[in-house]
């Protein structure tokens, strides 16, 4: 299993991750100004900038800096923030934790629901349940997140004060502190992400329903329930996994809009702050995490597919 699926892809995965960091690093070099100027702001006299640059090690050649960074990164040391002067690991870790928590809720509740809806839509193809669900999905794809989120705030925290409008607890909030303000951000994310999952599930269900083996199974005279659960769902879920994976990657990779609307202390907010303060170490770590998530999600999707799909799990004992 490992040697056949994980090992070969792992190599590529790492290459991909490193390459992405290279891309981001070089792009950051092109940014106007650097941490020094950003920190000093209006006090940025040439001398001050020069000293600070030296302090921050920004005076070395980019390539050299990247190589050193990479070297340290591989040993798990991602450097210290150019702004706060503290190790970036813990801070990004916090943000990642908070984001993952939000993502977790969204995935558990939203994605499973979306799959069910997609299944229903597929089974009732072109009839009213399908029409209804598909329309919702279409809207979900057409309406920007910030409108959704804003409407939710308006409805459920200002007009009817059910949930908090923002997270007032900061970066180091405990899960207990975050939980009360979870519903609205989670809902907003679900609405956007679910749309694609619903549609994917619907499509693949329709495909499977038209396949020979479903036809044969039906001709065996088995009940619809059994037909759906034993014959349709297992095959229909497979392609959907990829969409789910992409959405997870998106959820972790920084859902800036929603996070800032709800002042949620996650990766998205951190990312923006870091780009604006040119805090390279933080940005690079965020990139690494984003890339790792992206790669890992796709890898996991493949593995899950493998696990669900006997074709791959038990290769025919031949070429």
């Amino acid at each position: 299993m490992f040697t056949r699926f994980v090992a070969p892809r792992l190599g590529w995965a790492i290459a991909t991750i490193v390459l992405s960091t290279v891309l981001v690093f070089s792009a950051m070099q092109a940014l106007p100004g650097d941490a020094a100027t950003q920190i000093l702001g209006q006090n940025a006299t040439p001398e001050a900038v020069a000293t600070l640059r030296r302090q921050l090690g920004l005076d070395q050649a980019p390539v050299a800096r990247f190589v050193t960074w990479l070297g340290h990164a591989l040993t798990g040391n991602f450097g210290t923030s150019l702004v706060s002067g503290q190790a970036v690991g813990p801070e990004v870790g916090r943000a990642l934790l908070n984001t993952s928590f939000l993502a977790g809720v969204t995935i558990l509740v939203g994605f499973s629901l979306a799959m069910v809806l997609g299944l229903v839509a597929g089974l009732f193809r072109d009839r009213w349940p399908d029409a209804l669900i598909s329309t919702v999905a279409l809207v979900g794809m057409s309406v920007p997140e910030f409108i959704v989120a804003t409407l939710l705030v308006l409805a459920f925290s200002i007009t009817i004060p059910l949930f908090p409008a923002v997270v007032v607890a900061g970066q180091n909030a405990t899960i207990g502190q975050l939980l009360p303000s979870m519903p609205l951000p989670a809902l907003s994310l679900m609405f956007v992400a679910a749309a694609y999952i619903i549609r994917m599930m619907r499509t693949s269900v329709i495909d499977v329903m038209e396949s020979d083996f479903v036809h044969t199974a039906r001709l065996k005279g088995i009940t619809t329930g059994r037909l759906v659960i034993r014959h349709v769902v297992p095959s229909a879920v497979l392609p959907t996994l990829n969409v789910v994976a992409m959405n997870i990657a998106w959820l972790i990779g920084g859902v800036v809009v929603v996070e800032s609307i709800f002042n949620y202390p996650g990766m998205g907010s951190l990312m923006i702050r870091s780009v604006q303060s040119r805090d390279l170490p933080t940005i690079l770590l965020i990139t690494v995490i984003g890339a790792v998530t992206f790669v890992a999600c796709n890898l996991l999707a493949d593995l899950a597919a493998t696990f669900l799909n006997p074709r791959l799990r038990y290769p025919r004992n031949s070429k």
Partner: protein
Amino acid sequence: MTATQSEHLAIDIQNLDVAYMAGTRQVNVLQGVNLALRPGEVLGLVGESGSGKSTLAGILLASLRTSSFIARGTVHVAGADVFKLKGKGLRDFRASQVALVPQNAGAALTPTMRIADQLAEAFRSDDASTATRAARRSRAIELLRLVRLPNPAAALDKYPHQFSGGQQQRIGIAMALAARPAILVLDEPTTGLDVVTQAAILDTLSRLHAELGMAMVLVSHDLGVIDKMCTHVAVLRQGKVVESGPTKDVLAHPSHPYTRGLLASVPRINAPGIPPSLDDAVIDAYERGETLPAAESAVYERTAPVGTPPVLTVRGLTVDYNRKPHGAPTVLDVDLDVHAGEIVALVGESGSGKSTIANVIAGLQGTKAGVLTLDGETELAATVPRRAKAVRRAIQIIFQNADTSLNPRQTVRDAVNRPLRLFGIRGSSVEAALADVDLPGSFAQRLPGQLSGGQRQRVGIARAVAAGPSLVLADEIVSALDVSVQSSILRLMDRLAREKDLGFLFITHDLAVVRAIADRVVVLYLGRIVEEGTVDEIFGSISHPYTRLLLDAVIELGDDHASAPAPGQDEVPDGPPEQGCPFASRCPLVMDVCRTVRPPVVPVSATHSIRCHAPLNNLRLDLAESATGLV
């Protein structure tokens, strides 16, 4: 016929019309179909593609393609008026009375379910004998044994894709039998399987029928299969049953010209020559009550060219995909000649490497060793980019599947004109090229989608011939076509070979076609040549055991259908052995030496050679049979 009578009929279909709506117009898929079948009888539904035979099979399970509907008539199966059945009634009917063996079991088995579960599903809920899990298991094993699936117990916990096509088909049959149905419907159960496998499966089926005695409906385009399996036959054409009755009578004294044409157009391994192709004009005339003389009625016997120069010589060709680190090469040490105007058949089952060889010649596949020479002088570079324009022009390909061989977005003109322009051919034109393949110049404007299968294949041929090649690689070019069209394409091939001195390397698995068209034959097994010779020699009395197996497996109209391969002989190993004779694992005459030493080339005549350790005498038909008991 009255309802009471239909009680004890297995199948009773009365003036049935099935149709779909094209806009406001009703198009009949089936028209005025009347059929009756008693328990225990076997009905064959024969017809060419689009004759409605599969629709009819579906009807028996109360299954219609969405959008089509019953326009008229009634269908009683096992006493039930199937299209009155709804919900649970319908499910019970399907679960108990009638079962289907689908055409392609590979696609018809649910990939995500173990065999055991799929079989268990099919057991009747009311059946006490399968109440417990253990009971279901043992019954499942029993079924798999019944269909002669090797090692049934182990098979239960496997998934469909872990079986070969033949085995999947057997499982499909077992699943259909699980509910002990009164009627078994088989939709082209052996199409797409190798001849040997087909023979084995059909043999199993007839044994099953003998043991269980259920009524069967067998849909097939292959008259041989029908002849072997069915007590009764119904011939369908364009949704109408043109003729039906006991198989022997219908096949012996066909009353309808379509049946006659069909029978006449089937090539036979025991009779050389290209049969006349079926002439629709004649039949349509007959339908209108007129009579027309058939264009061609006689069998045409082709004569091999003599003393023509070689257009292609292959020496010591070896191809290795290096799939496995230390596996035997896919193709090993193949020698091969094609002379001008000669049609050489390269014969083998799927996986025999015949297409690989074609790709190598076409320059699409690299080689490990071997020399290819064109027209006796130019040595062929390994791959296309390194071949001169003249060389690329000299070698042309015709493909098996006419649907994918033409670019659906290009007109016939674009397709045929391309080689003319690319190779800068003077004094020829698209129209001329089309004329060469008996197509009107007006076709130049059409898109492939607007052509019939046969016409598409002709365009494919025109594109190849337009380049003015000396060698044409024809890969299974007739196997996808209806038999009536087959022979016309075969005749075209013959004519082009003669008129244009074209050398054909004709790749096929169909021995009857080989007999009809080929001058010389090379028999390939797992990428190794086992026998070669003139067509008469190959079909003569001395053959390699593998050739013999193939010949015996062919189900020929009107022969006794007695012989069938021994169990297990239909299973082709995944790859060639590292050493010894590739056929050793299946050979009835196998000796220890076969497993270790590569068999020598035994010359039978100047043109006929066999690679086998067995003494020639054991390879003579009469002796061979007594020696191996293949009967």
